[in-house]
Every structure is written in C-alpha cells, then in structure tokens.
Amino acid sequence: MNEIDALRRRLAELPVESPPPSVWLNLQLAQAELNPRPPVRRGQRWRVAAAVLLLALVPALVWRIPQPEPASAYPETRAAALRALDRELQLKYMRGASDVELEPLWRQREQLLQLPDPAPDAAHTIRI
C-alpha cells in the first residue's frame, strides 16, 4: 500500500460527527419562514424573529435558560426530528449497522431530548 492509499484509509476511518441541535432549530425557523404551508400565524411572527435572534446571539444558552415559546413550528418539528431519528435508528439496526454508524444518531437524539420541553401546556399529573 503506498503512502497516499495509507493516508486515504486513515482519513476514511476518522469519526463522523453530528452537528449540534442549534443547526436543526435554525433550519426549522428558516423553513417556517420559507414554507407557506403551514403558514406562520399572524401575531406569532415576532416569536419567530425573537427566537432567531436569541439563537443567533446566544446559542450556548438555548439549552440552559427557558426561552419564550418559539415559532409554532417548533413543537411539531422537534417531534418530527425525534420520529425521524428513531426511524433511522430502527432501520440501521435492521440492516446490522455498526456501533460507529449508530453513535452519531444516538448523540443527536440525546442532544435533541435535552432541549426545553416545547409543550409547557401539556396535561400533567398534579399531586394533591
């Protein structure tokens, strides 16, 4: 094996890395603006702008400080992302994927789950 082939092999073996959840959130906010269906309802455009500004200025704080509820698309797209991740994991397991292939997806899922609960109004049990 010559030097170039040896380097090619070593480079191909370097780990695959996943982007942080902020990339996904920023994309969804941009998509909500671009995509006319479902439309961003009137009265909530300021929330989209506020969420974009917050994410752009303080990305490290998104997961630590409770934020005003972002665009209406956020709860649905977070759930959509989780469903997509779970389906992708299921398919990879069915195809016998290696731990190396699975690890980025598990990491993405874990990061997404660490985001603030997007459904603060969801029903929950109150102990009397």
């Binding site: 982007p19 994309l27 998509q31």
Partner: protein, 174 residues
C-alpha cells in the same frame, strides 16, 4: 429489501413529500445526511462554528433547490457537493488568488518527538490544502474538478496533494 426499507426508495418518497412542504420528510432527510454533511464541513473548515454555518447553509440551499434534486439516487453526494462548493467559495472569497506560503501551518512549531493525532495534523494545514486533501482522498474528487473549482491547474492540485501527504506523514506518527 422491501420498498419500506430500501433507503433509496425511502429518500425518493421523502424528497417528493419535502417538495410539497412536508416538514417531517425534510426532517428525515436532515437526520439521514446531516452528520456526513457536518463532518465534511468540519474537515474542510477546521472550525466547528464555520462547519455549523456551512451545514445550515447546505440544507437551506437544498430546501430551496429540491426541485432540481434527482430522484432514485441518494441525496448524500448532492448535499456534500453543495457543502464543498460553499466551503470553497468561502475560501476563495477570504483569500482571492493568494499563493499559499511554504509553511502551510498555523504557526505552531512541531517539536521533535511530537505525536499529533491525524485530526490535529489536518487542522494545522492551510484550509485550501486541507480541503484538497480531503476532497481528493476521501470524497473522490478528481484533480480536474479541484482545479476547476479553485480556478487553478491540475498540476497545482497534484503538487499540493503530494506535498500535503508528505507533511502529514512527517507530523503524524501512528
């Protein structure tokens, strides 16, 4: 492999639904390809913040160009081509036509006996050199393609790769 688990057929269905504005379909495409796109962006740029910008821009461009994406093939290569082109455009904007200096490094001296891991050794290369190495050896770009995108000659690309391989061999000890 049935239609439900055939990855190409699955992507085809996601692509069609994404074109109609289905956010779940776009999410599925993002989940499948974002790691590969981000890794390519990271290897070319050497910086996480820039890699995040490149990844976001790639999927935004893809979202706006879904009509031109081919069905029946994985979207991975198309998305990575967008990423690579964005990264190269950024490099050319930051340093239009400038020659690479002989050092190619970020100024940190390599001491005798240093053992750098390969990622560190790659990161120390000039961004253009690093990109040529990665695109050529990992992504399979030809020297013709590299020359065209960088506005240089094929001999420039071959020479760059040859010298980079020698530099990486010198700095990286297994």
């Amino acid at each position: 492999m049935d239609a439900a688990t055939d990855p190409i057929n699955e992507e085809c269905q996601w692509l069609r639904r994404a074109r109609l504005g289905d956010p779940t379909a776009f999410a599925a495409l993002y989940v499948r390809h974002s790691a590969a796109v981000y890794t390519l962006a990271l290897r070319m740029s050497g910086q996480r913040s820039e890699a995040e910008d490149l990844t976001q821009e790639t999927f935004l461009r893809a979202l706006q160009s879904l009509a031109s994406a081919r069905e029946g093939v994985s979207l991975g290569p198309w998305l990575k081509r967008i990423t690579a082109n964005l990264a190269i455009d950024r490099q050319r904007r930051l340093r239009p036509g400038a020659e690479l200096d002989e050092d190619w490094s970020d100024g940190r001296a390599v001491q005798p006996g240093d053992s750098l891991d390969l990622i560190d050794a790659l990161t120390r290369l000039d961004p253009v050199v690093r990109s040529v190495v990665w695109l050529s050896l990992v992504e399979g770009w030809s020297h013709r393609e590299l020359a065209d995108r960088y506005g240089r000659s094929e001999s420039w690309s071959k020479s760059l790769l040859s010298r980079a391989v020698a530099r990486l061999k010198l700095e990286h000890t297994a």
